[in-house]
């Protein structure tokens, strides 16, 4: 009897994978960690943005006479320092990507037709590219002498 059992085909031979008998998997496979990273990014960037944005608002609108102090000279002074350049650059990228990812999930949730979904996303990604490009360009190529 034991010989028969040993010669029998191994049903579970190749590890734990079992093919389901009749039903096919629904065709929605993506096999990447994209959604996982997207989800994590929202949480992490959110925490960072709380510090960056609140700090930004405090400096710009509350301290040192509030909003009235903001002028060309004020901006030029701040961007002379690499610290504030990086602050603004990180804030720009995180806020834009955070917003884009949030809108992407909202489009996925609410746009019902594939066409609508495609065009809304096309619009979203195009606008994001423009904002990120222009913002980054200004931070890096800002010329404090342009006013003279």
């Amino acid at each position: 009897m034991s010989a028969t059992i040993e010669n029998a085909p191994k049903i579970h031979g190749g590890g734990p994978s079992i093919e389901s008998p009749r039903s096919k998997r629904s065709p929605r496979s993506t096999k990447t960690n994209f959604e996982l990273y997207g989800w994590l990014f929202m949480r992490l960037s959110g925490v960072l943005l709380v510090v960056l944005v609140l700090g930004h608002l405090l400096i710009q609108l509350v301290l040192d006479g509030g909003v009235s102090k903001i002028g060309f000279a004020f901006v030029a002074g701040r961007w002379a320092s690499p610290f504030w350049q990086s602050w603004d650059l990180i804030m720009l990228w995180l806020a834009e990507l955070h917003g884009v990812n949030g809108l992407r999930t909202i489009i996925n949730d609410y746009a019902e037709r594939d066409q609508t979904r495609f065009w809304l996303k096309a619009l979203l990604y195009t606008s994001a590219l423009i904002v990120l490009f222009l913002g980054t360009l200004v931070i890096f190529t800002f010329d404090p002498n342009i006013g003279n």
Binding site: R28, L36, D109
Partner: protein, 259 residues
């Protein structure tokens, strides 16, 4: 620990007060969302007046309507005791089992609305096409996956290991959670809370070896990451399963790659 969390106080039964034992029948109005695919283009509301004891269930009132007023009223029911999961419906705007909802727990003075669960194709009156729901359930492989030879005795497990997935063993597949989920309503591609709950039941089972595969399936585009933690599912579950918590536990297992 398999007991069901109930919102109602344990007032019924032997220790009930006089008011609760008052079985004077009253007339209630059931406002039912009707739809006959052969004659109607759109579903419509129809009012039925029916005599009911306040301690009776909505299902009893509906069966009375079907028997005495309109035999064409169509709904699913099987065990009628809250365990088969057939009669999930949207009663007064909330997904519940008609067989576990008592008349006295609703506003008896106003018409009680009864409609089919949302997000699945309406077939007739309160009957919807459950196939997409069951397909999502099948997709997470809700069965024990092991390797090697079968053991000669039971697969033993410590009470602590069992406790990890105890909550999610209670699911009766009534679809009350999945059809209360706004993400599922939008396009029906999302796996839905019920499928994730049943994946959770095996992912966190120490005897099962298919956790990796199930996690991979739930990591996909329509998997756990579409959950917005609106808690509609937890609120709707007639078995008191903490559905949103189970979904979060699957997310955590995916992030840390550890079950």
């Amino acid at each position: 620990m398999t007991a069901v969390v109930e919102e109602t106080a344990p007032g019924t039964g032997h220790g009930s007060t006089a008011a609760e034992r008052d079985h004077t029948p009253i007339v209630i109005t059931l406002r039912i969302r009707r739809f006959n695919p052969e004659t109607d283009a759109e579903p419509y509301w129809q009012d039925f007046k029916v005599e009911a004891d306040p301690t009776e269930r909505i299902l009893t009132a509906m069966m009375k309507i079907k028997a005495e007023q309109d035999g064409s009223l169509t709904f699913r029911r099987s065990c009628a005791h809250g365990i088969c999961g057939s009669d999930a419906m949207r009663i007064n705007g909330r997904n519940r089992l008609a067989c576990k909802t008592l008349v006295k727990d609703l506003d008896m003075a106003k018409p009680i609305t009864v409609e089919a669960i949302k997000g699945l194709k309406l077939e007739k009156d309160l009957v919807v096409d459950m196939d997409p729901f069951m397909q999502a359930y099948k997709d997470v492989m809700p069965f024990l996956i092991t390797s090697g030879n079968e053991p000669t005795r039971e697969r033993l497990q410590s009470p602590e290991d069992r406790e990890r997935f105890d909550d999610t063993t209670k699911c009766i597949l009534c679809a009350a959670c999945t059809t209360s989920c706004p993400v599922f309503w939008s396009d029906g591609q999302y796996f839905g809370p019920a499928a994730i709950v049943n994946a959770h039941r095996f992912i966190f089972d120490s005897r099962d070896e298919g956790a990796e595969e199930r996690l991979e399936i739930l990591n996909e585009k329509e998997g756990v990451w579409r959950c917005r933690t609106t808690f509609n599912c937890t609120e709707a579950c007639p078995r008191g399963i903490e559905v949103t918590k189970a979904i979060q536990e699957v997310k955590r297992a995916l992030i840390f790659r550890r079950v």
